[in-house]
């Protein structure tokens, strides 16, 4: 492994460790909740980066796979005696199986990956705008199915009764693994070929890269991570409805990745940190505004507007995001090893 990559890994994992340590030191439940939510976002954003960053194709379907993971884990882990209430119409065999949350989270990832493997193969032949559009349509389809498949998802109503299993150390550990996997995938043969196809599709294809198959692998990996992230989130909030896995969440996850810089894992991590903290601040402001009663109506949507403006500003000034091409490790090394400019 190159020294730059090691340094990147150390810095990013250091940030995650910080995330676990700070709430311990502050000792506040609220801070711990925020940190856990941030770690879940880390999993999701870095998961999205493995596909979008390496292939250069924006995927809107990511949050859909997050939803699949959350629901898969929910169906398998809600205690059997509660199933009758939470999911009255569940199919016979499924209704009897109960696994521990950890197994449920893992299976959530596997189910999401399987669905991705099945539906995505034909889509991976598309590039540019058609690819983005079909991923958007895929998100809508997953949402439609989640919302109407009452037997498994309780329909558009809230599904409740998931055991609370997502702790900060667990989430941080998974986030660390995901970061390592994302960096390793980026440097792997598949990742390298995929990045070549991102930079010049025709040249890469001419050199023998089987682009659809490469993208397919990245997409499955990305869906696996999204499923795990979704299941973690499910066991964190313990009750949710399909609405949670739609455009609003997509916008937030995409915003984190894009502002940080989608081509690098560093960008994904930094983006998740920055936007999560910005969001918490804005949400507090929104709540305060509503509580103070300055405005006659409820103030809604300010958070999204600010995030949208931030995204546009970053795109105007630096279209590649904050870390557009180079991971933080090599970036630092380059600064400190003073070489004559070429």
């Amino acid at each position: 492994m190159k020294p730059g990559n090691i340094l990147t890994l150390v810095i990013l994992l250091g940030l995650v460790a910080l995330l676990v340590l700070v709430p311990q030191l502050v000792g506040s439940r609220v801070v711990e909740r925020i940190a856990t939510a941030l770690a879940i976002s880390l999993v999701l954003v870095v998961g999205l980066q493995t596909f979008t960053g390496n292939s250069g194709i924006l995927s809107f379907a990511h949050v859909g796979f997050m939803g699949i993971g959350a629901y898969a884990s929910a169906v398998l882990t809600i205690p059997v005696q509660m199933r009758g209430m939470a999911l009255p119409d569940l199919y016979g065999v499924l209704a009897q199986i109960q696994v521990t949350p950890l197994v449920g989270i893992a299976l959530g990832g596997v189910v999401a990956a399987l669905v991705a493997a099945l539906v995505a193969y034909p889509l991976m032949r598309l590039s540019d705008a058609p690819a983005v559009i079909t991923s958007f349509a895929l998100l809508v389809v997953i949402y439609t199915v989640l919302q109407h498949w009452s037997a498994v998802t309780n329909g558009p109503r809230t599904l409740f009764g998931l055991p609370k299993a997502t702790t900060l150390p667990l989430t941080a550990a998974i986030a660390s693994v995901v970061i390592v996997v994302a960096l390793a995938f980026k440097e792997s043969r598949t990742g390298l070929l995929l990045r070549a196809s991102r930079d010049d599709e025709r040249a890469a294809a001419a050199l023998g890269a089987g682009i659809p198959a490469l993208r397919w692998r990245a997409f499955i990996l990305s869906a696996l991570i999204a499923g795990i992230g979704g299941a973690l989130w499910g066991h964190f909030v313990t009750s949710f409805s399909p609405k949670a896995f739609y455009l609003k969440e997509t916008f937030v996850i995409l915003g984190m990745l894009v502002i940080g810089g989608m081509n690098t894992v560093t960008g994904a991590v930094i983006g998740a940190f920055l936007i999560s903290l910005l969001f918490e601040g804005l949400r507090a402001l929104e709540t305060a505004l509503n509580a103070s009663g300055v405005f006659a109506n409820q103030v809604v949507g300010v958070t999204e507007i600010v995030l949208a403006l931030a995204m546009m500003a970053v795109m105007f000034l630096q279209p590649g995001g904050l870390f557009a091409a180079t991971e933080i490790g090599p970036l630092i090394l380059r600064r400190f090893t003073r070489r004559a400019p070429p």
């Binding site: 032949r125 199915v145 279209p319």
Partner: protein
């Protein structure tokens, strides 16, 4: 026989609206090779325009014209706010900025108007029905058919016969070459956005005329329809967009007739499966359009 007539009219009226939606999206895509994610919000903005003019006492046609104008202005505004600063830099950046711009418009509607549906004024004609050949047809379906076919013909004439249309088609084929031959790039792009806004405005009248009310998220379904129709039809071709619109309407209406009630709620999933099958067969879409993909 009656079912066939009913079916034909359903397909034509839905397809007409779909074709206009797709055309509004593809006119911009054809020239810039960039997708406008804020397209659905143009439809929403026109709807809220109608809502705000409710009770102003103006004749409906004037209100409709103003609503379409609002969509046109917002379309041009989208170009200035989300496209012009980044369009030469990166495709992904534009996807993001237009998605962000769409979020801003939606949340502005949430913040300043209301998350709840608002009724829009509609002429009585929209709720009447016409008896024809033994079946009852809602008059708004006939209006949609007439309006869309009229607009498509007008648009075809504009693109084939006028200097502006020829310049736009040239720009869609080889933008750089067209610029070298003296086609003013910014003017052409702004015009494309204005036309896109015009289509969105008309679609808004027809679409919201079906639903009767406007919400901040009303633009999503038309946007999705336009997306899918253009991908099936071929992203680079105007004919493809129209064909894709009618084909999608045909698939949707056929599924409406064929599927049972409990399967009908999954209609979007079925439609999308068909779209995937079409794309497996033809990744470029049904009509290929000009072969080049040069951007500015």
């Amino acid at each position: 026989m009656q079912t066939l007539l009913q079916f034909t009219i359903d397909v034509l009226s839905l397809g007409g609206a779909y074709a206009l939606m797709a055309l509004g999206l593809v006119i911009v895509y054809g020239i810039l090779k960039l997708v406008n994610f804020a397209y659905g919000e143009l439809i929403m903005v026109a709807g809220y325009g109608l809502f705000l003019m409710n009770g102003s006492g103006l004749p409906w046609l004037v209100m409709a014209a103003v609503a379409v104008l609002i969509a046109v202005v917002t379309g041009v505004l989208t170009e200035y706010a989300a496209f012009r600063p980044v369009r030469a830099k990166s495709v992904t950046a534009v996807l993001i900025t237009s998605f962000a711009f769409s979020t801003i418009l939606q949340n502005a509607a949430l913040l300043f108007i209301s998350p709840r549906p608002r009724n829009v004024p509609l002429p009585d004609l929209f709720s009447q029905t016409v008896a024809f050949g033994g079946i009852l047809i809602p008059a708004r379906n006939l209006i949609t058919i007439v309006a869309s076919i009229g607009l498509l013909l007008l648009f075809a004439f504009l693109m084939k016969r006028t200097v502006l249309g020829i310049a736009m088609r040239a720009a869609a084929t080889q933008f750089r070459m067209a610029r070298m031959l003296g086609v003013p790039a910014n003017l052409i792009i702004s015009t494309a956005f204005a036309i896109s806004g015009f289509f969105a405005g008309v679609v808004s009248l027809l679409w919201i005329g079906r639903i009767g009310s406007v919400t901040p998220g009303v633009g999503l379904e038309p946007l999705l329809v336009a997306f899918i129709a253009t991908v099936i039809g071929g992203m680079r071709s105007l004919q493809g967009a129209v064909l894709g619109g009618f084909l999608l309407a045909f698939i949707n209406t056929a599924l409406n007739y064929l599927l049972t009630q409990d399967l009908l709620q999954f209609r979007d999933a079925f439609t999308f499966t068909l779209v995937i099958l079409i794309l497996l067969w033809r990744p470029e879409g049904l009509i290929r359009g000009p072969a080049t993909g040069q951007r500015t």
